[in-house]
């Protein structure tokens, strides 16, 4: 088992967050995490990415405890909904900064720029790029250390059709290269196109865990969104 989540919880004063939660993820799965706003999807991803400190529970990734941050950051790459890049720096400088911190050679930056079609924008400042391009830089940055798990929080939110297709292509490519992916989404077509497994959260509680076929045959989607 690649990811083992045991009794993980995080509650907020004003929101419910995530109630004690169990999940096991095998290597190479492409999981769509769905649910209403406030269902706990982003909280779960942020807990896995180390953005939030859990109230309780344990998570192991490839046998490494999530609390061992310095080791786990090389295992998990997180792409937030809003790209968090240094706006005043260029695309290349952003990647260089993180490459230095990950201690990966600069040749990796060239690979990323090429793979994500970012070569023409390498000297552009982040602040002049569209959201789609920023998202690509953000995804590229998360791959610098070549993590085995990738977490995407609404990867296509606010992105145009062409760029959405490009993101789908990238996700499929990562999946075929053996990476484990967990992404949150509200889009049925996105879930159908990409996911190999669906996990549904409702008010911080897991209410469904199964294949896309089972999910769309059941009435859960209607109950949730219609």
């Amino acid at each position: 088992m690649l990811i083992k989540i045991q009794n993980l919880s995080k509650t907020y004063k004003e929101k419910r967050g995530l109630l004690p939660f169990q999940l096991e993820v095998k290597q190479g799965e492409l999981i769509a995490l769905i649910g209403h706003n406030g269902a706990g999807k982003s909280t779960l991803l942020k807990l896995l990415a180390g953005w939030l400190i859990p109230d309780s529970g344990q998570v192991f990734v490839d046998g490494i405890d999530l609390k061992n941050r310095l080791a786990i950051v090389r295992k998990i790459g997180f792409v937030p909904e809003t790209p968090n890049l240094f706006d005043f720096f260029t695309v290349e400088d952003n990647l260089k900064l993180f490459a230095r911190l990950f201690q990966v050679p600069f040749s990796r930056i060239e690979e990323i720029l090429k793979a994500f079609n970012l070569l023409p924008f390498r000297t552009n400042r982040i602040q002049v790029l569209s959201k789609g391009l920023r998202q690509r830089v953000s995804i590229g940055r998360s791959l610098l250390a070549d993590p085995s798990v990738l977490l995407f929080d609404e990867p296509t939110s606010g992105i145009d059709f062409e760029m959405t297709k490009e993101i789908y292509r990238l996700l499929k490519a990562f999946h075929s290269s053996g990476k484990t992916i967990i992404f949150t989404s509200h889009r049925p077509e996105e879930i159908k196109t990409l996911a190999t497994r669906i996990v549904v959260l409702h008010q911080g509680v897991l209410v469904f865990d199964g294949s896309p076929e089972t999910y769309f045959q059941s009435d859960i989607h209607e109950k949730l969104y219609l």
């Binding site: 990415a49 180390g50 953005w51 939030l52 400190i53 950051v73 809003t82 911190l101 940055r141």
Partner: protein, 343 residues
């Protein structure tokens, strides 16, 4: 329609100002100025007695000593063993002035004060003049000369205030805003997804603050062509001051979620740390309040090094105090960072 939109937008802007707490400055600044003005001594209100130092071994004209003793509402006599001790006590503000009797003079005395241009020196001279008039009417002035301990003009004497202003500006205005910006834009969280340790980020921020302060002080000296006094002691205090207040600024930044909030909080800390210390020499009330602020030991130490030629050996408790305040706030920032406080 246009007016309605303007009103709508203005209300919206006010709501934003309220939300990011900028509006509190409107209340805080007048309140702070009111408190400061209340603490700055008003003329004629409860004038403090002047502590005048007399050297035990010197023979002062009896008429002057008797006059000072009789004006016990105005003066109190403090006996010192020597001129050196008198000078030390002057620097330590245990006495306000020291009377010396020049050998050649019969009746006139030399008044030694800390600063010639200060309000206190003026008050001492005026008091002596009034006392002399009341006793003798006219005659030779009792005070024939005023000797200041601190050399240099107003420019040099205001240097500690400018330095304190720079340190406070970097620490309370620049640093918290920068920290809060990295938190607000989730840049710090992005960095925490790398093998970077929390302590490394904090030390880097500390270095940023210290470098900015050192550069600002250096520019000030180069532009004003001010000398450094005792260089080693001066650098030691700028170093510990920049460490202490950069750490303090980082801590304030950690308390805030947004840049706007950090700016507001910065101003709220900036003024109370700057003004009481900088104005303490002009007000007896402020000089009793100021020592409770961490900015005061820094200000007083820099002032003593630049104006009184003192060294770190006599100011070591202040150095240690600043170091520990810096260490404490640094540690608190570390704890907040570990907890991902308001990130």
């Amino acid at each position: 329609m246009m007016i309605r939109n303007i009103i709508t937008l203005t209300v919206n802007d006010l709501a934003i100002a309220f939300k990011n707490k900028s509006i509190f400055l409107i209340l805080f600044i007048p309140f702070f100025v009111y408190i400061s003005l209340t603490l700055v001594d008003e003329a004629g209100v409860d004038i403090k007695k002047i502590n005048i130092g007399l050297i035990q071994s010197q023979q002062y004209p009896p008429v002057i000593v008797e006059a000072i003793q009789s004006a016990d509402a105005l003066f109190s006599i403090v006996l010192v063993s020597s001129e050196e001790q008198g000078n030390t006590w002057l620097k330590e503000k245990k006495i306000d002035g020291l009377l010396l009797r020049p050998e050649k003079e019969n009746i006139s005395l030399v008044l030694v004060v800390l600063k010639k241009e200060s309000v206190l020196s003026l008050q001492i001279v005026e008091s002596f003049s009034a006392l002399q008039k009341a006793i003798e009417g006219t005659g030779i002035n009792w005070i024939s000369d005023i000797k200041p301990l601190q050399k240099g003009g107003i420019q040099r004497q205001t240097l500690p205030t400018w330095i304190l202003m720079l340190v406070m500006l970097v620490s309370f205005i620049i640093m918290p805003a920068q920290i809060a910006e990295e938190k607000e834009k989730k840049l710090l969280l992005a960095l925490l997804q790398t093998p970077m340790r929390e302590i490394e980020w904090l030390v880097a921020k500390l270095f940023l603050g210290m470098i900015l302060i050192f550069m600002a002080v250096l520019f000030l000296h180069l532009m004003g062509r001010f000398s450094f006094g005792n260089v080693a002691s001066y650098v030691a205090f700028i170093g510990v001051g920049s460490f202490c207040f950069s750490a303090y600024g980082i801590f304030l930044g950690f308390l805030c979620k947004s840049q706007a909030g950090a700016r507001t909080l910065g101003v709220i800390f900036y003024l109370p740390h700057l003004l009481p210390s900088a104005l303490s020499e002009f007000s007896q009330k402020l000089s009793t309040v100021a020592p409770f602020l961490p900015s005061y030991p820094l200000f007083e130490s820099i002032r003593s090094i630049l104006l009184d030629d003192r060294t770190i050996s006599t100011l070591f408790p202040a150095w240690i105090y600043l170091f520990f305040v810096g260490l404490l706030t640094f540690f608190m920032s570390y704890l907040l960072m570990k907890k991902r406080w308001r990130m």
